[in-house]
Every structure is written in C-alpha cells, then in structure tokens.
C-alpha cells in the first residue's frame, strides 16, 4: 500500500534528478533570503551555481541546533511572518527553545509525508486513528492528525494522557490505528490488561510509534500485548516534525521521503560523509521546506543508511532505527532532556554550582529519572524537614521546567564519581 506511488516508487535516476533540481533551488533561496545562510555560504567560499551534482552537497556547511537558537525566534525563517501559518517549538536546552515556522505549502507537504507514513503503517481511509501524541507546540500530535485527515481516516484527536479515557474511546469508537510514543503504547497495553479488557474485543490493528528511542524487544512486546503491527516512525521539528522517515510493512529500516529530504551520515567528529552501511550522525537537508529550510542539519541522532532494494517496492533509501545520540541529550518519556537543564533548575534552588547525576532506568515499561544531588553547605540543614523540603523544591522546579517527574535523592559531597575532575552527568541504564 502506497499513498503516493509515483513519488514513493520513483526510479532512482529520476528521483536523483528531482533532488538535484530541488537542492539547487533551495540553496539559492536561502542564499537570497536568510542572512545567516548567506554569510555561512560566503565564508565557505561557496558561489551560486556550485551545486552541479548531488555529491556537491558535501560542500555546504552544516547547520546546528545552536544556530537555530542563536537566531531565535524567527531569524532562520526564509519568508516573512505574513507567509507563516503556524509555528512549532521544540523542547530545547537551557534558555530559549528552537522555533520552526510553516507556510501553507509546508503544512501541505507535511500532511503529504505523514499521509505516506500512516499508509506505511497500514492506515487507510477506513481507519479510525487515535492520535495519542501530545497536541500543541510539540509536532507529534498535529503532524499525525493532518496526515490522518489527508488520507481520509477518522481522527480521534485525544492527545496524550488520560489513560482511562483512551481505553474507553478505543473500545467505544473501535480505534484501528494507534499513534503515540512507544512507551505510552506499553503503558496503554498494561492498562488494557489491568482493566481486564479482552484483546479480541478491540479493533486495534496498527500502531505508528516514534518520538523516542525503542528497541526490537519493545516492538515485540507492544505487538504481542496490543495485538497489532507496530511501525517505527522518525522525525524532528527542525526538519519538519514526524514524517521525515517511516518503516514500511517490512519493518526493516525507515524509508526517508527523499523527494523532500536528503539524508546523509557523517562522522560526528570530522564531519566527513560516510558511505551506506556505516554508522554515524544523521544529517538532513530539506528540499521543499518554505518557512524554514535547513541545509545539512545535524540531528545528533546516530543511525546508518541502507540503499539495498526494499521488498515493499519503495525506492527511497532506508535509515536504521536510531541507535543513539552524539550529544548528552536524553529522551525520557518522549521529553527531550539535557543535563544542562537540570543544572539550571538546581541553580535556581541552591545558588551554587551543584554536582548532580542523572540516572535513567526503565522500570517495567516506563522510563524513570532519578536525580542525585550532592548536598552543599548552603543546602544543608540540621533539620530533616528542611532537607525534605529541599528535595520537594528541586522536584517541583524540575517538573515545572521539563514537565517530567523525577525522584530526587540527596547524596554526600564527592560521592558522585568524577572523571578527570569533571562529574559524570548521566547513567542510562535503559536496555533499549
């Protein structure tokens, strides 16, 4: 099943011709419209017309999340706000988040790639799609929503949380497709079991899951416990949101929608492009984005590309399920967490530079975050009440900053291991 067979199954040669044409156009566009890119391209000694083949993409400079942050809020937009119909904001590190803007055309293209994604996952116009990704500034909910509407499915825009209601609507409305984070899918599966709901009474058949790393083992568990076929989807707001890549029914790598995005794998240290089959950092260039095109955007996600033919008939290259991160970003219950955010929350509580350690673990199906904080002289109180109050204050600060609940554990000074004087910040015990 394809949503757009001519494009999804386009012969490679024809696809690459289309990519080259679009790449030349987008580079010219950002050169003229975005001062940031013009300066960067000029500094790299780049001239318009230098893109003669697709391989010339290697000559373009990279774009990073920091560049987006430096140009907060709208400095990277290539069109005036009068052309922007929507903005989304990604959970960022300390300080300013990153903002992306969509034109009417971008929303159409995003709906298109999400329509392909949903179709890849098994949805059709007859499907009833329960979108349990969060709606709002996060791209997950609205991305899945627009794609599902585009294919003509019936959408239940329930957003995340409220598990009881999720189950009620799933039963009463006969949901056939579930879209959410994989950890929430497991949580729902547990809730189904706890409620004593017989799986055979549910109409659920397909699941499209993304926005956080998950393993094959987790896939098997979701498939078994919910009685569905589970598909991995990939995206990030800086590139478009969900809909950058999706697994097909073969469940063997995610097809990158190459008529819209060019993927590359680079060595994260040297920036050198790596051939297919080699592991490195994923980089994307958008080919059709109007509001905020990105040139060689470094995702910090680790993956590899596979160019072998896929049995599904799609000609688009496949990326391996994301295998990790090149930076210290953690994804906990779908929330992006940088240790520096924890640090700033601690600073607000304690006034002094705290030593802390994040321990992430997966208990059952849910990610748990424990934050160990070394007690400083300033924080210390001879009253247990005072120390418990401190724990509660830190917990509250983290919750309001990240929207994530964490267990706070006060520990003795110097008890957190340091390597070469620098504290180790993160221990990720999750076996994903």
């Amino acid at each position: 099943m394809y949503w757009n067979k001519p494009y999804e199954c386009m012969p490679r040669e024809q696809l690459e011709t289309l990519q080259l044409k679009r790449l030349q156009k987008i580079v010219e566009k950002v050169f003229h419209n975005v001062p940031f890119y013009r300066q960067k391209l000029q500094e790299a000694g780049f001239e318009l017309g230098d893109i003669k083949t697709l391989d010339d993409i290697k000559r373009l400079p990279f774009t990073t999340k920091q560049d987006l942050r430096d140009n907060y809020p709208f400095g990277m937009f290539s069109l005036p706000m009068s052309e922007i119909v929507r903005v989304h904001v990604s959970s960022g590190t300390t300080g300013k988040p990153t903002v992306v803007g969509y034109t009417r055309g971008d929303i159409n293209n995003w709906s298109e790639v999400m329509a392909r994604t949903l179709t890849c996952g098994g949805a059709t116009k007859n499907s009833i799609v329960q979108v349990a990704f969060g709606y709002g500034l996060f791209t997950g909910g609205l991305g899945a929503h627009y794609g599902a509407e585009k294919i003509g499915a019936s959408v239940i825009p329930i957003s995340g949380g409220n598990t009881k209601r999720q189950l009620m609507l799933m039963q009463d409305f006969g949901t056939t497709v579930l879209a959410c984070t994989p950890s929430y899918a497991i949580y729902l599966a547990e809730a189904v079991e706890e409620a004593g709901i017989d799986l055979s009474t549910l109409k659920l058949k397909h699941g499209i899951f993304g926005a956080e790393p998950w393993s094959e083992r987790m896939r098997m568990e979701i498939e078994k416990r919910l009685g569905i076929k589970a598909i991995d989807i990939y995206g990030l707001s800086e590139v478009i949101g969900p809909g950058v890549a999706s697994e097909c029914q073969e469940q063997n790598g995610l097809h990158v929608f190459e008529d819209h995005f060019i993927p590359e794998i680079i060595d994260p240290q040297t920036g050198e492009p790596l051939p297919c089959g080699e592991k490195g950092e994923l980089v994307f260039t958008t080919l059709t984005k109007e509001g905020i095109p990105v040139i060689r955007y470094r995702t910090r996600d680790i993956s590899m590309l596979h160019d072998e033919e896929c049995a599904c008939g799609r000609t688009h290259i496949r990326m391996h399920k994301v295998m990790g991160r090149t930076d210290d970003m953690l994804i906990i219950r779908g929330v992006n967490v940088f240790p520096s955010q924890i640090e700033s929350a601690l600073l607000e509580v304690g006034d002094t530079q705290p030593h802390y350690l994040l321990i992430v673990d997966r208990k059952g199906s849910m990610d748990e975050l424990e934050i160990q904080v070394e007690v400083s002289r300033e924080m210390f109180s001879d009253k247990v009440k005072g120390l418990e109050g401190l724990e509660a204050k830190i917990k509250h600060q983290i919750e309001s900053l990240l929207g994530l609940s964490a267990k706070i554990k006060l520990v003795e000074p110097h008890s957190i291991p340091r390597s070469e004087g620098k504290a180790v910040r993160v221990i990720d015990k999750r076996k994903i």
């Binding site: 007690v375 210390f380 001879d382 418990e388 006060l410 003795e412």
Partner: protein, 142 residues
C-alpha cells in the same frame, strides 16, 4: 549556648562508622548524639568536646557539616521529670524541633539536648520556668 555539630550522611553501609573513626582519629570525644534518618539519608547531630575543631576536621574530610545553637537542660532523673520540663516549655510557647538525651549525667539529674525553633530568648524563658540550662563549657567538659 551549646554548639551542636550536624552533618549529612547518606543512608549507606559504613558511613556512620566512617565519620566516628574520623572524629576518633582527631581525638574528638563525642558527648551526645542523635541520628535522624529517612529512607535515603540521615542527619547526624553531635555534641562534642571541641565543636570548632570538629567542624574543621569534618570539612577537611569532605563532610557537609554545620553548627547549630542548642540548649542542654538538666531534668530530675525520676519518672515524669522530662514530662514536667516539656510541659513547662509548651506553656511558655517554646516549640521543640528535636531533642535527644545525653550520654553522661550531672549529679543526680539527666541531661537533655533541645533544639527549639527560635533560640532567641529561649534560655531566659526556660530559666523563668525553673529549668536549669547548662552553660556551654559545662557541657563540653562533661
């Protein structure tokens, strides 16, 4: 006012022994102690013969410690002796944060360390109630 040393301890095997060894090696004699604990951590409170030195030794050994003013009171070592004293304090509006008993004794009386919410004027109030509050030096040299 009696200086109490408080320090933070993780609820981990061997920590209490470690701190006692550190103090012992420094020649510090513990006069009274109490340990308040939660699942994860504890606060050890000490009355010692030399608070300033203790604070220094603990800091040098990487502990987080602080000095708090507390009162050492003398109560008759008979049934109801402590109850009488506490009732008097209650009537006088003194709120006890925590308290613990002394290891040694002074003559026939028991000694109790009391931490009140606001120490300001507390000694006078106590004495006004007829409770004997010990001087700093008396306590350290017991």
């Amino acid at each position: 006012m009696v200086k109490q040393i408080s320090l933070f301890l993780e609820n981990k095997k061997g920590r209490l022994a470690h701190v006692c060894r550190v103090l012992g090696d420094a020649g510090i004699n513990i006069r009274a102690l109490s340990l308040a604990d939660t699942a994860d951590f504890g606060v050890l409170r000490l009355i010692v013969d030399d608070p300033a030195k203790t604070n220094k030794v603990l800091s040098e050994n990487g502990f987080v410690a602080s000095i708090t003013d507390v009162m050492a009171i003398q109560v008759p070592d008979v049934p109801g002796g402590l109850a009488d004293a506490l009732e008097k304090m209650d009537k006088a509006g003194l709120d006890v944060e925590y308290m613990y008993a002394f290891i040694g004794t002074a003559s026939q009386d028991a000694l109790v360390i009391i931490r009140v919410d606001s120490i300001e004027g507390a000694v006078e109030i106590m004495e006004g109630c007829g409770i004997n509050v010990l001087k700093e030096e008396q306590v350290y040299s017991l």
